[in-house]
């Protein structure tokens, strides 16, 4: 208690130098919290978008299907269990049939992933209702990236070629009825969405699907050996990994700022212990033990961290709040890395993040303050009182 009171007096008395150190240190607080908040915001947004557009509350894969191996598409499909029809009709399950196909935009050959989706499904945000239009051609839905890539526009007609269950080639015209805008590239790039019923006919796979996406409302378990459930942990692993790498990458920044702040505090401590020898001698003459004096100087140093937290809060909170509201703009095309990225990332600052940052910075500051202060315990008080240079 005494040390805190005295340390506060000394630090405030020291004036400008204190505030300079405090400011640099406060920068590391704000940067650490900002970068982590940005990453967490990115993480949450990418996961929320992926859940909304691609994976719902989890996906049942046909036992022979593996999303990471396109060769499994051949065998990886099967009849949707009859007992699930009510849920499919209710829109809480969305079966999707996937197959490889080819399109010929402007006469060029391009491989695509053809996906059949129920026009009434409510599990995913993909606007599949727009596929229920009366057209001569097969109605098709593509994302904005696919549109840009193939130069296909709304109402364009293009030839589609595929192989049916028997392996026989077949072809038909498809018409782009809608182009959707999603942050999730994995349901967009190289993909064409058509009505499930249509695709089952084309492929001669009646009532079949490759995957079944479930919504939160569907709370039963499918007990069928042909269908294997994949939960969020598994399906979102890529995003989790990417965020981890990004976090490590950005920590480089604040480690440098932090090192600068620590250097400044270390320097201040060394200097003040040297300059304040007479004061240290006086403390000892007045009856403070050496460890009390070491403690006082350590507390003084670590007080920087507390003041920095306050100063950081003064300018950091409005700044970080503004970022959280306006978002950090992402340049066009940055989402080509295959993970959902919006037009802006909205940082999310968790209480845990703020508290752990404050604790970590405080601990490091305390250690950095303690190291030079140990020298005090070796000082000769009679020399120190005179302020003799040692």
């Amino acid at each position: 208690m005494l040390a805190i009171k005295l340390a506060y007096r000394n630090l405030i008395g020291a004036g400008l130098r204190t505030w300079l150190n405090v400011f640099v240190l406060s920068l590391s607080y704000v940067l650490i919290i900002y970068f982590n908040g940005l990453m967490d915001g990115f993480n949450i947004q990418a996961k929320t978008d992926t859940i909304a557009w691609e994976i719902g509350d989890g996906v049942y894969w046909h036992k022979n299907y593996n999303a990471y191996d396109p060769f499994t598409l051949e065998e990886g499909h099967g009849i949707i269990p009859e007992s699930l029809n009510y849920a499919v009709n209710k829109g809480t399950l969305s079966p999707i049939l996937i197959s490889q196909a080819t399109i010929y935009p402007d006469g060029r050959l391009q491989s695509v992933l053809l996906k059949g989706i129920g026009t009434e499904q409510k599990v995913l945000k993909i606007p599949s209702q727009s596929l229920s239009v009366e057209t001569e051609e097969i109605p098709a839905l593509i994302g904005k990236r696919m549109a840009a890539n193939t130069k296909l526009k709304k109402d364009d007609v293009v030839t589609l070629r595929w192989r049916d269950a028997q392996g026989t080639f077949d072809a038909a015209e498809i018409k782009i009825v809608n182009i959707f805008d999603s942050n999730v590239p994995t349901i967009d790039m190289g993909q064409i969405w058509i009505p499930l019923k249509e695709m089952q006919k084309m492929k001669q796979m009646p009532d079949e699907a490759t995957i079944i996406v479930k919504s939160k409302e569907f709370n039963k378990k499918i007990n069928d050996d042909n269908w294997v459930f994949k939960g969020h942990t598994f399906l979102l692993e890529d995003i989790t990994k990417l965020i981890k790498t990004k976090k490590i990458g950005s920590s480089f920044f604040y480690i440098i700022i932090m090192a600068l702040a620590m250097l400044a505090i270390f320097d201040t401590q060394v200097l003040s212990i040297f300059r304040r020898q007479k004061e240290i001698g006086t403390y000892i003459a007045l009856g403070m033990t050496r460890s009390q004096v070491v403690g006082l100087f350590t507390v003084e140093g670590s007080f920087h961290a507390i003041l920095a937290a306050i100063v950081g809060a003064v300018y950091g909170i409005p700044l970080l709040m503004l970022q959280a509201i306006n978002g950090y703009p992402i340049p066009e095309g940055a989402d080509n890395m295959g993970i959902a990225v919006g037009k802006a990332i909205y940082p999310v600052y968790g209480l845990g993040l703020v508290i752990s940052t404050i604790i970590i910075v405080f601990l490091i500051t305390t250690i950095v303050s303690y190291l030079p202060a140990r020298k005090i315990s070796k000082m000769n008080p009679t020399d120190a009182i005179k302020g003799k240079i040692q």
Binding site: L2, K5, L6, R9, N10, I12, G13, A14, K278, E279, G281, T282, I284, A285, L286, G287, M288, T289, R290, S291, Q292, P381, T382, I385, K386, G387
Partner: protein, 233 residues
């Protein structure tokens, strides 16, 4: 006489290492100081006055012999025990004042009481009393940099006296003061010696101080050459 003794020094030798050899600053000192004495150690520069005071103040320890201060053998005290002795029973006044620069006058005088964990109200009263003794009630909020030398030394006296210690050690308290200020602070200390029965030991070669002393110990080359009681009425 014996049970009244507050400091007993026997066959004390103090040597300082100087290069490969050593320098003998105090050489066979035998002295006893009694409670309530207003004594001074005088002698030329380098005679060992400060060294002796530092040992009595448990800031330094003897090389040979013993120094018993308030029933504690200085050479046997741990640094922690020595700190407790100083905190509770000793007051220091330095030639260079040694005020804490960022503290106000009030806070400087309050400091020894903070170390004693005295309650706030009691503390405030004691500090105001001490300010009264040295006549600085109007400088309560000033900082050391804003004080004259005389005022600074009076603050230092108040700081040494505020906890009413048994023993005050004053090393050249007037060296940086003019005649008028010197007399003022000496009168203050004389008054405190009279009222509180505090023992004072000075180290000085200042005639102005010597005039006030009631016992004068003369040191030369680390030895006591004379020790006289002065009865100035």
């Amino acid at each position: 006489m014996e049970q009244n003794s507050i400091v007993t020094i026997s066959d004390l030798v103090k040597r300082f290492p100087v290069g490969k050899s050593f320098f003998t600053a105090l050489n066979g000192i035998n002295l006893t100081f009694n409670k309530g004495q207003f004594a001074g150690v005088v002698g030329p520069s380098g005679s060992g006055k400060t060294t002796l005071l530092n040992i009595i103040g448990s800031l330094d320890s003897p090389t040979v012999g013993s120094a018993i201060v308030l029933n504690e053998e200085v050479s046997k005290l741990s640094t922690k025990k020595a700190a407790v002795l100083r905190r509770k029973h000793l007051g220091f006044i330095f030639q260079t004042y040694n005020l804490l620069p960022v503290y106000t006058v009030f806070e400087n005088i309050e400091f020894p009481l903070l170390l004693l964990n005295m309650p706030a109200l009691e503390r405030k009263k004691a500090v105001l009393d001490a300010l009264e003794w040295v006549g600085l009630t109007d400088k309560i909020k000033s900082r050391p940099a804003q004080l004259s030398g005389g005022e600074s030394q009076r603050v230092a006296i108040a700081r040494a006296m505020v906890k009413k210690p048994e023993l005050v050690l004053a090393d050249e308290p007037t060296a940086n003061l003019d005649a008028e200020n010197s007399h003022h602070i000496l009168q203050t200390m004389e008054k405190l010696n009279d009222e509180l029965k505090t023992t004072f030991i000075f180290a000085t070669h200042d005639d102005k101080v010597i005039k006030y002393l009631k016992r004068k110990i003369r040191l030369e080359d680390g030895k006591v050459v004379s020790d006289e009681i002065i009865n100035n009425l």
